[in-house]
């Protein structure tokens, strides 16, 4: 076969093409397992991508998706000039960074500390309880948090009042200056346990002989925690860090929506409005579709950029994700 094919290229190409289609047809029953899902993805994930183009156009209801009047970068210019958007961008960045600095390390510390407890039973019980807030929706979480921090008989205010630390109850969810703190606190409550799972799993992979060897070498407790436990889970930490940074501006939409009464609480809007809630209000609420699409796109672009930067930095220490 081979010598003949060197002389004549064409038969090989035709043969190759026929192969793909024949191969495809030969495994058609396998393909049928996959094709419905692919169609689903094309419909629900790819078709809406015209939203990216929408940001550069003037979309009106009734326009065929992606075929509206061209507007260039007009919306983006308008966005940057809009003080509302600048505020929204500020809120998004602040909340994201606060969460990164506070909420990212805590599950790691939690996992390492709990690992130091000797009783397996205790460890397991604490873990199981800590996952519970993950399994409720933000609607339920908001309900619990609203009551916990309520002005009217809520646990926190009652405690603070009876300890004499404050004179009048604090309206935790009613004033915009408290919102950033509340967003961070309620999020920690909800995700601490769940986010620590992956670190517990990584810790369990640590070779216990390492601990004994370190002990013989005279390593103290903190030394072991740092040089063995943390060192082993470092790749996991970095992996998660890259993903978190890449998702940085996707501040939890559901959390913000439920804690602010779906943006109905105007008192909080100054600090609570983030990119996704802004898109929701302006786009679906005020029907300024292209403008909202532009806002969303700005967020996505920042995210992808951050992801690539984070990955590059991680690559320097040999821990790149891509």
């Amino acid at each position: 076969m081979k010598p003949a094919s060197v002389a004549l290229n064409v038969p090989i190409i035709i043969q190759k093409k026929k192969n793909i289609i024949t191969e495809f047809l030969k495994q058609i029953d396998l393909q049928f397992l996959v094709i419905p899902a692919i169609i689903h993805i094309l419909i629900f994930s790819f078709i809406p991508m015209y939203g990216i183009i929408m940001a550069f156009q003037d979309f009106r209801i009734g326009d065929f998706p992606g075929m509206s009047e061209w507007a260039g970068v007009r919306h983006f210019v308008a966005l940057l000039a809009d003080p509302n958007f600048v505020l929204v961008l500020r809120n998004t960045v602040v909340i994201s960074i606060l969460k990164l600095l506070i909420i990212f390390p805590l599950p790691i510390i939690f996992a390492i500390m709990l690992n130091e407890v000797t009783s397996k039973h205790f460890k397991k019980t604490v873990q199981t309880i800590s996952y519970l807030p993950h399994f409720i929706s933000w609607v339920v979480a908001a309900t619990l948090m609203f009551d916990f921090f309520s002005v009217d008989g809520g646990a926190v205010n009652t405690a603070l009042l009876s300890l004499g630390l404050i004179e009048r109850p604090i309206h935790f969810f009613g004033r915009s200056e408290y919102f950033w703190a509340m967003a961070v606190i309620t999020d920690i409550w909800k995700v601490l346990g769940w986010n620590s799972i992956i670190f517990f799993a990584a810790i369990s992979a640590v070779d216990s002989e390492l601990y004994e060897a370190a002990e013989i070498d005279g390593a103290g407790r903190y030394s072991k925690m740092w040089h063995i436990t943390f060192a082993t889970i470092r790749p996991t930490v970095i992996l998660l860090l890259v993903f978190t940074v890449g998702n940085l501006l996707n501040v939890n939409f559901e959390q913000i929506m439920t804690l602010t009464n779906q943006m109905g609480n105007a008192a909080l809007r100054e600090t609570a409005d983030i990119i996704s809630t802004y898109v929701f209000r302006i786009g679906l609420g005020q029907s300024r579709f292209s403008f909202a699409a532009a806002a969303g796109l700005v967020g996505s672009v920042i995210n992808v950029t951050l992801l690539l930067i984070a990955n590059k930095i991680a690559a320097r220490s040999g821990n790149e994700v891509f």
């Binding site: 793909i20 191969e23 495994q27 396998l30 393909q31 397992l33 419905p36 899902a37 689903h40 993805i41 629900f44 994930s45 790819f46 078709i47 809406p48 991508m49 939203g51 990216i52 929408m54 998706p65 500390m113 709990l114 130091e116 407890v117 205790f122 309880i129 800590s130 519970l132 409720i136 929706s137 339920v140 309900t143 619990l144 948090m145 609203f146 009551d147 309520s150 002005v151 009217d152 008989g153 646990a155 009652t158 009048r168 309206h171 009613g174 346990g193 799993a201 004994e212 407790r221 559901e254 779906q262 109905g264 898109v279 786009g283 679906l284 699409a293 796109l297 996505s300 992808v304 992801l307």
Partner: protein, 304 residues
């Protein structure tokens, strides 16, 4: 080798365990106190001080909320979307993952790219909204089911698991003449319980807790799930709070305040009863769930 504990060790252990207990308390307290309030007489709750248990036990709050036909209806919707949504999504996603686990799949690279791209590029909420509208899924129960049929993350987890199954099992079955569907249902599925259980759990919990899709795609009351009923209730509660704070800050007594006062009390009890009802099934099966989702995550991530 006997490990001698130094004084420093003891201090560390005590502090550590105390912190852990504090975390447990902070996690559980909102749940316990809310359930206690739901089981407590509304007029007694006003007096404050309910912490871990109801002082004046009553089931009245629950009776009241179930008198509202909307609540029973919403519960049915939530159960329906959870059961139907989980089974259908499991079906499509697992078959998809099984197919993708085959190295000889024609077009595998293309399919994989199609899966990954939407993770980074999305058109956003508004085109999705229009799409749902054009598909006729507005105010339609199936809007809870159809968009969620294929989850790429879930597919990847399942694919990792399936790849770990020895190909010889499949090959010997195919030699005996079985087609891929038969291979999947008769051979692969029975030995895939850990991952199926884990994914079913994730999808199920996701369905039970979903509320935003109903918020923007459903306006008919009879299609609202339980989460959205709770959402309406806490919106009212928050409104009452605003009024209370406004009055407390010297905004002047509003004529409606007196009525609001009484309403506020009942709103709290009603809110807690509604919330407890909403999370009841989750709480009930929670103790039994741990091994499934832990295993699922470990299987999916460690192998990958």
């Amino acid at each position: 080798m006997v490990k001698r504990k130094s004084a420093g060790d003891w201090v560390f252990d005590i502090v550590n365990i105390s912190i852990m207990l504090l975390i447990v308390l902070a996690t559980l307290y909102p749940f316990i106190t809310s359930i206690a309030i739901s089981l407590n007489d509304a007029n007694d709750t006003v007096r404050g001080g309910i912490t871990f248990y109801p002082r004046v036990f009553t089931l009245l709050n629950y009776e009241l909320i179930f008198q509202n036909p909307l609540v029973l209806n919403a519960y049915t919707i939530t159960i329906a979307r959870t059961v139907i949504g989980t089974i259908t999504a499991l079906f499509f996603t697992s078959l998809f993952a099984f197919g993708m686990a085959h190295n000889n799949l024609v077009g595998k690279k293309l399919y994989t790219a199609l899966c990954i791209i939407p993770m980074y590029f999305s058109g956003g909420l508004i085109p999705f909204f229009f799409l749902i509208r054009s598909l006729g899924l507005m105010n339609n129960f199936w809007v809870f089911i159809i968009p969620g049929l294929v989850g790429v993350w879930n597919m990847i987890l399942m694919r990792t698991y399936f790849k770990g199954i020895p190909i010889s099992l499949e090959e010997s079955a195919r030699i005996d003449g079985a087609n891929y569907l038969t291979v999947f249902f008769r051979i692969i599925l029975p030995i895939s319980t850990p991952i199926i259980a884990a994914i079913a759990l994730f999808i199920g919990v996701g369905q039970w807790n979903a509320w935003f899709d109903a918020a923007i795609f459903i306006t008919r009351d009879e299609l609202k799930p339980m989460q959205n009923i709770l959402l309406s209730v806490i919106s009212e509660a928050q409104f009452a709070q605003q009024m209370a704070q406004f009055a407390a800050e010297g905004g002047g007594a509003l004529p409606g305040d007196i009525g609001r006062g009484a309403a506020r009390v009942n709103i709290r009890s009603i809110t807690m009863a509604t919330m407890t009802v909403t999370i009841l099934p989750i709480l009930a099966i929670y103790p039994f769930l741990q091994k499934y989702f832990i295993k699922g995550i470990m299987v999916g991530s460690l192998k990958g």
